[in-house]
Point group: C2
DNA sequence: TTGATTATAGTCGCTTTGACTATAATCACA
DNA sequence: TGTGATTATAGTCAAAGCGACTATAATCAA
């Protein structure tokens, strides 16, 4: 298929003729803990931003796509694997990293709480969960606004032990990224199957469990009956989800158990 | 704010320690011509993919953000400026460019037809408009599927003079990109103000004109009355758009002229 | 058996939406 | 100066969607 001209060109092509920015991937892991939406951050143990909280990530290698790099870094830094990663946005402001020019392709993932590994023995850096608070300007659309609307007084995250994390405690432009990711996730919740990714076992879940996911992500209570009606309409009627049994051991009436069809 | 350790680290940081992929921006320009949604492509005049059609784009410079690079390349390659660019997705498959590892941050823009410059004297490479055909799997959500679903028999584009462009006539992975962009655009049409970007003059347009935009993008006729009701509800009631006059010189009843409030 | 608890089912009214009909404002032309 | 063609705008109607609410069902504990 290639002409001789093409072949010659490819042989002689010199990739070093242009300066190139570094390219990283960052992976924002969301989970649900104590009925609240939480984000996983890592405390930086080296400059820049030493001591601040950051989204896990790292440099992309020459022999892997960004998707592959994201999966690799996620596993390396948090031990999580086998989850669906979704590309969020690419951040490229020239001064977003004080070291050098770094462009970051950011992914996010919805992960069930029991897939997270913490503490000693996990071989994983000091990662911690933070509850996501109110996001201002909670509209679905619009770009992430890389402009510096980072107001230090604005509380975005709260540690699991209650301490509040100000914007200034977050490294790089990661506060902006978190805000944007939360907005996107809330928006996508009701026209994608994103919510299922939070389930411990999407082949055996109840509608109340799924509703808890939605309530945590949206940060507001949902009517049980209406939620049921909607999910049944959207997924069960269409065959994407089917009932596979009845819950055992429950307080109150046992719920029907559903499974997502692969 | 920086500690002494941070300063020292930054002084000693060596950015050459990692291999880095090239980073480009590509800009997919959509417009509406003869009531059809069209994409602007450029015929490649050098390898690789010489003679094939490609989305305008180029390398990002070290002193500009991807947004800035996209605006610059758009102007350089098509003469278009002053339009809103929206980031679509970042494509990073390792073999997507035969020369070397290239990661491309893709943008798209909705541009009124009269902003396009063609032919001699424009100082612009041979650009041409192609009508967008049916996109298979026309759902809104989901990733762009970089997997090779590029079926050569699938007609994606049609030249303005009628010739059909097969997938194999499109350079790089740009067919995938176009498909994904069209899907996204159709999805965003009714929950963003994207449609207005196609208008020649968003401070003096009629609802029938706006409806033509929607019909072209969605590729189906819309009921005039219902469209009017919806737009009035969404934008005029909310103050985003207001009536500023009545159309002159029309066949049939003259339409009201509206303006988008800045 | 009773009450507490929780899932599921059903009702009601309001809003949205698609299809359709009616009316209004212009022009061309006899 | 009508009259019809043309196109914008207005209104109607029924079905679907959705939030709030009530009713019922299935379990457990006492």
């Amino acid at each position: 298929m290639e002409s001789r001209l093409e072949e010659q060109y490819l042989r002689e092509y010199d990739p070093s003729q242009f300066d190139r920015p570094s390219v990283t991937v960052d992976i924002l892991v969301f989970t649900i803990c104590q009925k609240k939406l939480c984000a996983l951050l890592i405390k930086r143990d080296m400059p820049p931003f030493i001591g601040k909280w950051a989204i896990p990530g790292g440099f992309i290698k020459m022999n892997e796509s960004a998707d592959q790099a994201a999966a690799r870094k996620l596993k390396e830094e948090t031990g999580i694997e086998g989850v669906r990663l979704e590309q969020l946005y690419t951040f490229s402001a020239i001064d977003r990293d004080p070291r050098t020019r770094v462009i970051s392709i950011v992914y996010f993932a919805a992960v069930p709480y029991d897939k997270l590994k913490f503490g000693a023995g996990s071989g994983v850096k000091s990662a911690e969960l933070f509850t996501v608070g109110q996001i201002q300007g909670d509209s679905v659309s619009g770009p992430p606004e890389e402009t510096d609307d980072n107001d230090a007084s604005d509380i975005l995250l709260t540690g699991r032990n209650g301490e509040e994390i100000a914007i200034t405690d977050i490294a790089f432009d990661h506060a902006t990224i978190i805000r944007y990711a939360v907005r996107r996730m809330r928006g996508k919740l009701d026209y994608t199957e994103l919510g299922f990714d939070f389930l411990k076992d999407s082949s055996a879940f109840t509608l109340p469990e799924l509703r808890e996911v939605y309530e945590a992500v949206l940060d507001r209570p949902l009517d049980a009956g209406n939620f049921r009606r909607t999910i049944l309409m959207k997924y069960v009627s269409g065959g994407r989800v089917r009932q596979v049994g009845i819950q055992k051991e429950s307080v109150g009436r046992p719920a029907a158990v559903y499974s997502r069809t692969t």
